[in-house]
C-alpha cells in the first residue's frame, strides 16, 4: 500500500512539474506580446 501511494505521489509530482514547464511558454508569449504592444 505504501509503495502504491509513493508511486501515485511520484506520478502526480512529475505530471505537475511537466505541466509547469508550460508556464515558461505562456509567460514568454505574454511578455513578448506585451513588449510589442508598448
Amino acid at each position: 500500500m505504501k509503495r502504491i501511494i509513493s508511486i501515485a505521489a511520484g506520478l502526480l509530482t512529475e505530471l505537475f512539474f511537466a505541466a509547469g514547464t508550460m508556464i515558461i511558454g505562456w509567460l514568454a508569449a505574454i511578455l513578448i506580446w506585451g513588449i510589442r504592444g508598448v
Partner: protein
C-alpha cells in the same frame, strides 16, 4: 600431455544475444496482428503472421548458432556490437511488414521509417498515411514505443534472466544508469515505469481524443498511439497532419505533459516514484533543461514576433512554444505544416529551433540530442574553470553536480561529455552538407539535419519519398548513430572491418 585450447570465436555468443533480441522483435509483431484481426484486416493479419514467423525463425537460428557459447563473457566492445548489430538486423526485419503492406515506394523507405520509429525520430516516408490500416499504424507506434525504452532493454526484460554480458549490451544501447545493481532488474524497472505511464497516458489521451470529437474506439486507438509516441518522444501520429489534425487545446496540452515526462532520465523517474520527489528540482538535468528551455522560448517568441506571424499570445504559445518544446524534448509533434517553418518563421526562430533540437532531453531517457546531463556538465566545467582562475594557485576547489546523488565532477566526465557533443556536431555538419549537396538551401538542410541528428522528427519539408536515395541513407545512418550515441555503431564498424581483414590475411 599439455593441450592448448583453441580460442573461442566471439562471433558465436554475439549471434546468441542478437538472436534473442531479434526473437523479441518477432514476438512483438503479434500485437499488430491481433489489432488487424479485431478490425478484420485479413491481408495485413496474414502479413504480420508471415513476417513474425520469419523474424522469430531468424532469431532462433542465430540463437541456436551461438547456444553452446551463451555463457561466454563478452567484453564491453562485444556488448556494444550486440546492441548495434541487433539494431541493424532488427531494422531490416521489422521493415518486412511495411514492404508487404504496399504503403511504401521502396524497401529503403521501409527501413528509413523503421529506423525513424526505433530511434524515436518520427520522420516518415510512408504513403497515404491518412488511410493506413490499424494494424500498420499499431506497428509504427509499437516500434517507437519499444525504441524509446530500447530493444536490448526489451529482450533483457522479457526473454532472458542471463546476467552474463547484460550490462555491457545495456550500455551499448546508450543507457548507462543502473537503477538496480544488475542490468536485468534495471531493464524490468524501466518497463514497469513505462507500463504504469502507458495506462495513465492512454486514459488521458483517450479522453482528450473523445473531447476532440473522435468516435470511442477510434479515440482509444488514437489516444494510445499518441501517448506511446509522446512518452517515447517519438513524434509519429496516425494522421498526416500530426497533432494539428485534432485542432484541440486539450490534446496539445496533454501531449506536452507526456513528452516532457518522457524526456526525463529513467533514473530520475525511479527516484521520484520511489519517494525522492525533491530530486526533480535538484537534478542537474531538470535545471539545465529549464534554463535552456526558458532562453530558447524567449528567442523563438521574439523571432516569431519580429516576423509578425501569429496574431496573439495564445497563437504564439500554441504554435511557437509547442514546436519549440516538442523539438527540445526531441519529440517532433507538430501543430503547423512543415513548409510554414521555412516560409513564415524567420531566421531567429529557426535558429532557436535548431539549437533546441541539438540540445535534446535527458540522458538514459527516450530522448535524443546532446542530452541535458552533458550540457550541464560542460557548463559546470566552464564555471569551475573561471572560478579556478580567480582563486590563488595554492587553492584546490572541487566542483560537484547533483544527479540522483552528489557527484564530484571528474576530468573523465568532462572529456566524455565533450567527445559525444563533438561527435554530434561533426555528424550534424556532415549531414547538413550532404543535404545542401542534394539541392536544399542551408537553412532547410541545417534544420532537417538537426532534427535527424537529435532524433527529433520535426520537418521543414526536406524528408519526403522524393528526396534522393543517398540522402535517405545518410539520414538513416545519422538516426542510428545519434540514438546509440556513436560508440556502439563505430565499434560495430571496426569489428566488421577487423573480421574482414583477418579473412583476407588467411
Amino acid at each position: 600431455m599439455m593441450t592448448i585450447e583453441k580460442p573461442i570465436n566471439k562471433l558465436y555468443p554475439i549471434c546468441y544475444f542478437v538472436g534473442i533480441i531479434v526473437m523479441s522483435l518477432g514476438t512483438l509483431q503479434l500485437l499488430p496482428a491481433i489489432v488487424s484481426a479485431v478490425y478484420s484486416e485479413w491481408r495485413i493479419l496474414a502479413v504480420f503472421l508471415l513476417t513474425a514467423s520469419i523474424t522469430v525463425l531468424t532469431g532462433a537460428g542465430l540463437t541456436g548458432l551461438g547456444f553452446r557459447y551463451r555463457s561466454v563473457k563478452l567484453s564491453f566492445g562485444e556488448g556494444t556490437v550486440v546492441a548495434s548489430g541487433a539494431w541493424f538486423l532488427g531494422t531490416l526485419l521489422c521493415a518486412l511488414p511495411y514492404e508487404l503492406s504496399g504503403n511504401f515506394l521502396s524497401y529503403l523507405d521501409c527501413c528509413f521509417d523503421v529506423m525513424s520509429g526505433l530511434t524515436t525520430t518520427g520522420l516518415c516516408l510512408i504513403q497515404d498515411m491518412d488511410h493506413l490500416s490499424n494494424g500498420i499504424n499499431m506497428w509504427r507506434h509499437i516500434l517507437t514505443f519499444v525504441g524509446g525504452q530500447g530493444m536490448v532493454v526489451l529482450a533483457l526484460t522479457f526473454l532472458t534472466t542471463d546476467q552474463s554480458g547484460a550490462y555491457k549490451m545495456y550500455v551499448g544501447e546508450a543507457k548507462d544508469e543502473k537503477l538496480f545493481p544488475n542490468a536485468v532488474s534495471t531493464a524490468r524497472q524501466i518497463w514497469l515505469i513505462s507500463l504504469i505511464y502507458l495506462v495513465v497516458g492512454t486514459a488521458v489521451m483517450t479522453i482528450a481524443a473523445l473531447s476532440a470529437g473522435l468516435a470511442p474506439d477510434r479515440a482509444f486507438l488514437h489516444g494510445m498511439w499518441i501517448y506511446m509516441s509522446a512518452w517515447s518522444t517519438g513524434g509519429f501520429a496516425p494522421m498526416s497532419q500530426n497533432i494539428l489534425y485534432y485542432h484541440s487545446e486539450f490534446v496539445e496540452l496533454a501531449t506536452i505533459v507526456f513528452f516532457v515526462i518522457g524526456s526525463f532520465n529513467f533514473a530520475l523517474h525511479h527516484a521520484v516514484l520511489s519517494g525522492r520527489r525533491g530530486e526533480l528540482r535538484r537534478n542537474i538535468e531538470t535545471i539545465t533543461f529549464t534554463v535552456t528551455l526558458t532562453l530558447l522560448t524567449l528567442i523563438t517568441t521574439a523571432g516569431l514576433m519580429k516576423s509578425n506571424v501569429y496574431p496573439n499570445a495564445v497563437a504564439l504559445f500554441r504554435k511557437g512554444f509547442y514546436q519549440l518544446i516538442s523539438g527540445h524534448t526531441t519529440t517532433g509533434f507538430m501543430t503547423i505544416y512543415a513548409k510554414q517553418f521555412y516560409h513564415e518563421w524567420g531566421d531567429i526562430a529557426l535558429f532557436a529551433m535548431v539549437i533546441a533540437m541539438l540540445l535534446g532531453g535527458s540522458a538514459s531517457s527516450t530522448a535524443g540530442g546532446f542530452k541535458a546531463l552533458r550540457t550541464g556538465i560542460i557548463f559546470t566545467a566552464f564555471k569551475a574553470e573561471v572560478k579556478r582562475m580567480l582563486l590563488p594557485e595554492s587553492r584546490v576547489s572541487e566542483q560537484k553536480i547533483h544527479h540522483i546523488k552528489d557527484v564530484a565532477l571528474s576530468d573523465s566526465m568532462i572529456r566524455s561529455a565533450f567527445l559525444i557533443v563533438t561527435a554530434y556536431i561533426v555528424t550534424f555538419t556532415v549531414g547538413t552538407l550532404i543535404g545542401m549537396f542534394a539541392g536544399f538551401p542551408f537553412g532547410m538542410s541545417a534544420f532537417e539535419c538537426a532534427s535527424v541528428t537529435g532524433n527529433v522528427g520535426l520537418s521543414i519539408g526536406v524528408t519526403t519519398a522524393a528526396m534522393p536515395a543517398y540522402l535517405k541513407l545518410t539520414y538513416l545512418i545519422i538516426m542510428w548513430l545519434g540514438r546509440l550515441e556513436f560508440m556502439s555503431v563505430l565499434t560495430l564498424g571496426a569489428y566488421v572491418i577487423r573480421k574482414v581483414e583477418r579473412k583476407c590475411d588467411r
